[in-house]
């Protein structure tokens, strides 16, 4: 438990009853959660080691209600922690005792679908998968696919600029977002973008995407929807060394092929996932690639033939092209359940740094050494095409001190990512988890510029204030 939270504002805590009464005038009774039992459901998110009880929870059902609640908080100096489904792995939605949680989960409707114009307008509390499901009957889908897509909301995806396994071809949230309705802290509702491309002035949409709930609360979004490919098929390649797997990735890209997904798993991850999903993963290799291509059967055959020919010189021990829908599903089940499967064998923390892919063999070797130096195990699954690592540092929460060791190991790994030219987080966000590491990636000047921009939207630091920026040295505007 090494992450500090700011000391709660006693004056706000003392006014709790008055604040709740004020909020009660703005939303329906069932939208305001005050009892300790019910608030407990909101005290953490995907970073479950940290828990903070919020002052109250408000679950509005319209942009107008969000606006009224934020205006009230602005006027009364009450902090606000916006929340989608609470799946953040970096603690982006963890509350604080002197803040209300403002959840958008009740606002989950599809407002408009335009297949011809290839856009969907949705309320921000809809789940990521909910969008794809709403357009699937016409063969369309929403492209970014974080592993939590069944539960996570588009509001959270926008806040964190979420990615997924298929972003090598389709990009991340920021590349698939066309417009938002956002409520600012003073209650002002601002419309940004629309169903057209690009913005006339500054790219506010690009700024808001990934701003971790610090600039405003997004209540509606316009996203691009895409027609799904006719088919997709993955293939598995097992290698005897990390170097061969890395070189094979470089060769595929060098040959002008961008597979729709290119996923890497190391030996511990293969073992854990195979035991869980029975996907037919090879257990006798050091590294495995899942390469998926899309198109018609004929195009897929052609592409996989090319990839197999490229892989052969790297002497894969296993080469297996999926032969059926069931096999494909099993291959993906193994990969997509990597976090859950790991959770069955150990407690773990999941890191999310990105590295230049050329540094892969060196970084994996160092990650292994770092984990060993703390007496811990590590399993690696990651997006090989873009260098976004997900080392799962495993520990036992019942052994005193192990969690702190895992956190330290995680920090060392992230510092390593920055050292080799990468970054602290590729798709999960900074949240509280990586907040104090920001100075190893950014200079004071870099951070000051970000904080000054933040200050334009929220000069008093009331929106999700414990996150992203180190607690010391904060600037307004």
């Amino acid at each position: 438990m090494t992450i500090a939270f700011p000391k709660p504002d006693e004056a706000v805590l003392a006014r709790r009853a008055e604040i709740i009464e004020g909020l009660g005038r703005l939303v329906a009774p069932e939208a305001l959660i005050v009892s300790e039992d019910e608030r407990r459901a909101f005290e953490t998110d995907g970073l479950t080691a940290y828990r903070q009880m919020p002052l109250a929870v408000v679950l509005p059902s319209s942009t107008e209600e969000v606006s009224a609640v934020l205006r009230f908080c602005h006027e009364h100096g009450v902090k606000v922690v916006p929340r989608g489904a609470g799946t953040s792995l970096c603690g982006g939605a963890i509350p604080q005792p002197d803040a209300i949680v403002l959840g958008v989960a009740k606002m989950n409707r599809v407002l408009d679908i335009d297949f011809e114009g290839r856009t969907a307008r949705v309320q921000s509390g809809i789940t990521n998968l909910g969008i794809s499901q709403a357009v699937a009957h016409e063969g369309f889908f929403y492209a970014p696919d974080p592993s939590s897509q069944l539960a996570c909301t588009i509001a959270g995806n926008i806040a964190m600029n979420s990615g997924g396994a298929h972003c090598l071809k389709y990009g991340v949230t920021t590349n698939n977002l066309l417009g938002v309705t956002m409520v600012m802290l003073d209650g002002t509702v601002v419309e940004i973008g629309g169903t057209h491309l690009d913005s006339p002035g500054y790219d506010l949409l690009g700024l808001i995407c990934g701003s971790e709930g610090q600039l405003g609360v997004v209540t509606e979004a316009v996203v691009r929807i895409l027609r799904a490919a006719e088919g997709a098929r993955p293939a598995l390649f097992g290698f005897e060394s990390v170097e061969s797997a890395g070189a094979c990735v470089a060769a595929i890209i060098g040959a002008g092929i961008i597979p729709v997904a290119l996923e890497y798993m190391d030996k511990p991850a293969i073992q854990i996932c195979e035991a869980f999903a029975h996907a037919g993963y090879p257990l006798d290799v050091e590294a495995m690639l899942i390469v998926e291509v899309e198109g018609s059967d004929q195009e897929i055959d052609d592409m996989l033939r090319r990839i197999v020919a490229i892989a052969e010189p790297f002497r894969p021990k296993t080469m297996k092209v999926s032969q059926s829908e069931a096999e494909s599903a099993a291959i993906w089940k193994g990969r997509k359940s990597a976090f859950g499967a790991t959770g069955r064998v150990a407690d773990y923390i999941c890191m999310d740094g990105t590295i230049p892919t050329g540094q892969l063999p060196y970084v994996l070797k160092r990650i292994d050494e770092i984990a060993k130096s703390y007496g811990l195990g590590v399993a690696n699954v990651f997006h090989a095409g873009d260098g976004n690592l997900h080392p799962l540092v495993m520990f036992n929460t019942n052994v005193p001190g192990e969690m702190e060791k895992a956190e330290k190991a995680g920090e060392d790994i992230l510092r390593l990512c920055v050292e080799v030219g990468g970054c602290l987080t590729g798709e999960h966000g900074v949240g509280v988890e990586k907040r104090d590491l920001m100075p190893c990636q950014f200079t004071d000047v870099d951070l000051a510029q970000q904080m000054r921009v933040r200050g334009v939207f929220d000069p008093r630091w009331l929106l999700n204030p414990a996150k992203v920026f180190p607690l010391e040295g904060r600037l307004a505007a």
Binding site: Y202, D203, L207, G210, S211, A477
Partner: protein, 395 residues
């Protein structure tokens, strides 16, 4: 007027810090090939990236390239081509429209978020821009993003810099993710469609599973019939397959179809990219309109009621290039009435300086957005010395 040519980032930082202390207003430029775009502004001196050139990192296997901001775009494109790669967003070359000759710089591509026909599929320059270094109006060297393509660490200032036209900072280095150049490019051409039908056909193609990388329509004029162009790229086998499928899909639109490949096809896409399809005289104003794609034909129908306009469509109908007479407001009020009703925004790309002073070059923003815009400007450039007024008055 003094023109500063900083040798490097430190040099640029010193020049801008000095200007901010003394309140010297600076024009920012690369090689000034697009100096006649945007609102004309009065400045005291200029600073150019012309002496800050060179590719600083290129890793083909990682699909990433970094260059100092003054590096010619042509050098970046050539370097990538040697390894079979390209800038996915296909940046437009404004020189033919503006009648300029120098070498456009990669910094301007980022600063103006310059894209081309492939934007519809591969995103704009802002989608490929993954890292920037710049000097803000305080003279401080700031970085955002980096050299890896997945990065959500901190506020995304990269996006703010893209398309800020030098009003927030002087870019010193830019990093783009790149893609392999495809083995084959082929264009399916449908002849003789009216605008509304063409936009419908393009929507069908873009809503198909066949990965269309260009979707344009050139209406009939003079003795030339209308042509609707759908571009496919990829491995040859795949291109053949998709051409066949698209032909079948679009059969109901009738008319003759043919397939363009090779140099001729490249020239057509270049003329679409650079808007040289608009051929009705260098003395006319040129507008670039981004609209909801399905409203494209309705848009031109409305403006044609009051304007002597010529146009063509890119991005499946979502990008409309329009030429108008330069008299009065060059069509600004008719165009902006239409963007207000149908959505989207209009930018005045080419017009005499007096016209660009008199009408809004960029789509006017509402009060809330303008407050945010001014706040952001002040957070980067509190003294207001960087390209003041180039986008909006007071910004």
């Amino acid at each position: 007027m003094t023109t500063h040519l900083p040798r490097d980032e430190q040099d640029a930082s010193a020049i801008i810090r000095d200007a901010s202390e003394k309140g010297i207003l600076l024009s920012l430029s690369g090689q000034s090939t697009k100096a006649d775009m945007g609102r004309p502004n009065q400045t005291d001196a200029s600073i150019s990236s012309g002496a800050m050139t060179g590719i600083t990192l290129y890793e083909p296997a990682e699909m990433v390239i970094s260059a100092r901001s003054g590096t010619p775009v042509s050098e970046v494109i050539r370097t990538l081509a040697e390894k079979g790669q390209e800038l996915p967003f296909e940046p437009m070359d404004y020189r033919p429209l503006l009648g300029t000759r120098a070498e456009p710089t990669i910094g301007a591509v980022a600063a103006m978020n310059i894209s081309g026909p492939r934007r519809i599929m591969a995103g704009a320059a802002r989608d490929s821009l993954i890292g920037v270094r710049f000097v803000n109006g305080r003279g401080e060297v700031v970085k955002s993003g980096g050299r890896v393509m997945k990065n959500v660490t901190g506020l995304d200032l990269v996006k703010l810099m893209a398309g800020s036209w030098g009003t927030l900072g002087f870019l010193t280095e830019v990093t783009f993710k790149v893609l392999p150049r495809q083995e084959r490019m082929a264009t399916l051409v449908l002849r003789g469609l009216k605008d509304a039908q063409a936009v419908e056909a393009l929507s069908q193609a873009l809503g198909s599973p066949f990965d269309v990388t260009g979707a344009a329509h050139i209406p009939a004029r003079d003795r030339q019939g209308a042509s609707t162009l759908i571009r496919l790229e990829g491995f040859s086998v795949s291109v053949d397959y998709r051409l066949g499928e698209l032909r079948r899909l679009l059969k109901r639109f009738g008319g003759s179809t043919d397939i363009l490949e090779g140099r001729g096809a490249e020239a057509v896409w270049q003329s679409l990219r650079d808007a040289t399809v608009l051929t009705d005289g260098a003395d006319r104003a040129i507008w670039r309109i981004s609209a909801p794609p399905t409203k494209g034909a309705e848009f031109t129908k409305r403006i044609a009621q009051s304007l002597d306009a010529q146009w063509f469509y890119d991005w499946g109908g979502g990008l409309i290039w329009v030429s108008t007479p330069v008299d009065d407001d060059a069509g600004a009020s008719a165009l902006r009435d239409t963007t207000r009703e149908l959505g989207g925004h209009a930018t005045l790309v080419r017009a005499p300086a007096e016209t660009r002073s008199a009408v809004d070059v960029f789509e006017p923003q509402n009060e809330t957005l303008m407050t945010l815009t001014k706040g952001i400007k002040a957070s980067f450039d509190p003294a207001g010395i960087l390209n003041p007024g180039r986008m909006y008055a007071g910004v």
